[in-house]
Symmetry: C2
């Protein structure tokens, strides 16, 4: 079992209206020294795979096929082996 | 100038319908070995502060006041000093 932590971010050339809105709100709250707010997605998941290579291939595929829009977004991820957990 | 990278995640006890939807989609796409999908926010921003302590205090405040819902979410962040950039 491998745990993946994935970060999906908008490419630098793509405008980020959500980030701009947050930046504007922060300025209105008095945090005028904050800028370049960019918002992305943080995704955690577990993959049941026999080897780290297999897990990496699965995560790579699901990032490029489902989690990230390849035209507008970049993604990175890290993988860590975890013990089979009892919960949920 | 400090760059903050913030991760906001739902607390483990809080249901994550967005994560469940992604998990369901992944299963339908044939990735049945993926589970415990949880979705959070990844936020990057820059703070113009004289010292790292000041920057940390600002980021701490904006996380607790605006970026995270303290009832349902946890947040972590890292800070790094960056040179004044020419762009944007």
């Amino acid at each position: 079992m491998y745990r993946a932590v994935i970060t999906v971010t908008l490419r630098p050339s793509i405008l980020d209206p959500e980030g701009k809105t947050v930046e504007h709100s922060l300025h209105q709250l008095g945090y005028e020294n904050v800028r370049r707010v960019r918002i992305g997605k943080h995704i955690e998941l577990e993959v049941d795979a026999g080897t780290e290579d297999k897990a990496r291939e699965t995560v790579e595929n699901i990032c490029s096929k489902l989690l990230a829009n390849p035209v507008m977004e970049d993604y990175t991820f890290s993988l860590a082996k975890v013990e089979e957990a009892a919960e949920g």
